[in-house]
């Protein structure tokens, strides 16, 4: 039987799953509900503040980790969902989904590089 390549994607899926399980809901609440509705001070996400976060080494890591791992988790699961719905999934779709997550990761890394 041929060895599966699943472990790489599963490890990324797991890391993303753990991260999103720990802080996903709170992040969504803060950035998507609390700040836009003014429950939290709007200043929290002001340009200068977020830029300062992105300039900081740990901040860069945090932003990259959240975007990248959330993407890998989501894409890996979405790919499996297709299979669950009975859609035939082959290496092409597998590459597309995980490639999308990888592309998102690269885009995030590039932006963080641009930001300085």
């Amino acid at each position: 039987m041929k060895r599966s390549n699943k472990p790489i994607f599963w490890a990324l899926f797991g890391a993303g799953g753990m991260l999103s399980a720990l802080i996903g809901p709170m992040l969504i609440f803060i950035t998507g509900i609390a700040v836009p509705l003014g429950l939290l001070n709007r200043e929290t996400m002001r340009y200068e503040r977020v830029l300062a976060l992105a300039h900081n080494g740990f901040g860069k890591l945090a932003l990259l980790a959240v975007i990248s791992l959330f993407l890998f988790h989501g894409c890996h699961r979405m790919y499996h969902c297709l299979h669950d719905f009975g859609i035939h999934v082959g290496p092409g779709l597998k590459a597309a989904f995980h490639g999308f997550a990888a592309a998102g990761t690269l885009a995030a890394a590039y932006c963080l590089f641009l930001v300085g």
């Binding site: 797991g14 993303g16 799953g17 753990m18 999103s20 399980a21 720990l22 802080i23 996903g24 809901p25 709170m26 992040l27 969504i28 609440f29 803060i30 950035t31 998507g32 509900i33 700040v35 836009p36 509705l37 939290l40 001070n41 200043e43 929290t44 996400m45 002001r46 340009y47 200068e48 503040r49 977020v50 830029l51 992105a54 932003l63 959240v66 975007i67 959330f70 993407l71 988790h73 989501g74 894409c75 890996h76 699961r77 979405m78 499996h80 969902c81 669950d84 009975g86 998102g104 885009a107 995030a108 932006c111 963080l112 641009l114 930001v115």
Partner: protein
């Protein structure tokens, strides 16, 4: 097998858990988009920030929140099965995971809230 997941409540809950991944992906893309706008300067970034207050954005996040909470709950519920061999009772493992999530979330909220109380020069 078509529609198999509709024939048993257990499978429906499984599909709900799986569906959360769509919202996690879209949320990550929203953040990524914010990062892109950040790299394009203040005006573009403030536009992005403003768009978070739109009806569509609020609606998305309002749906995403309970679904991602459900992902979080099921993630820890299933942790006794995904962890390496241990004699710790499953209930303790689940409780530890949930506690960790609550603590991390609280820490995140408090730091952001406290951070927001400063006024920058």
């Amino acid at each position: 097998m078509a529609g198999w997941w509709r024939r048993n409540p257990y499978y429906l809950w499984y599909m709900l858990r799986e569906a959360s991944c769509v919202f996690i992906t879209v949320y990550a893309l929203i953040l990524l988009w914010g990062l892109v706008r950040l790299s394009q300067g203040e005006v573009r970034f403030e536009d992005w920030l403003e768009s978070l207050s739109s009806g569509k954005s609020l609606a998305f996040h309002a749906v995403a929140l309970p679904l991602v909470l459900y992902h979080s709950w099921t993630w820890f519920k299933v942790m006794p099965k995904t962890m390496p061999y241990t004699r710790t009772p499953p209930a303790v493992i689940v409780a530890s995971g949930v506690t960790a999530a609550v603590l991390c979330s609280a820490l995140l909220f408090v730091s952001v809230w406290w951070f927001g109380l400063w006024s920058m020069p």
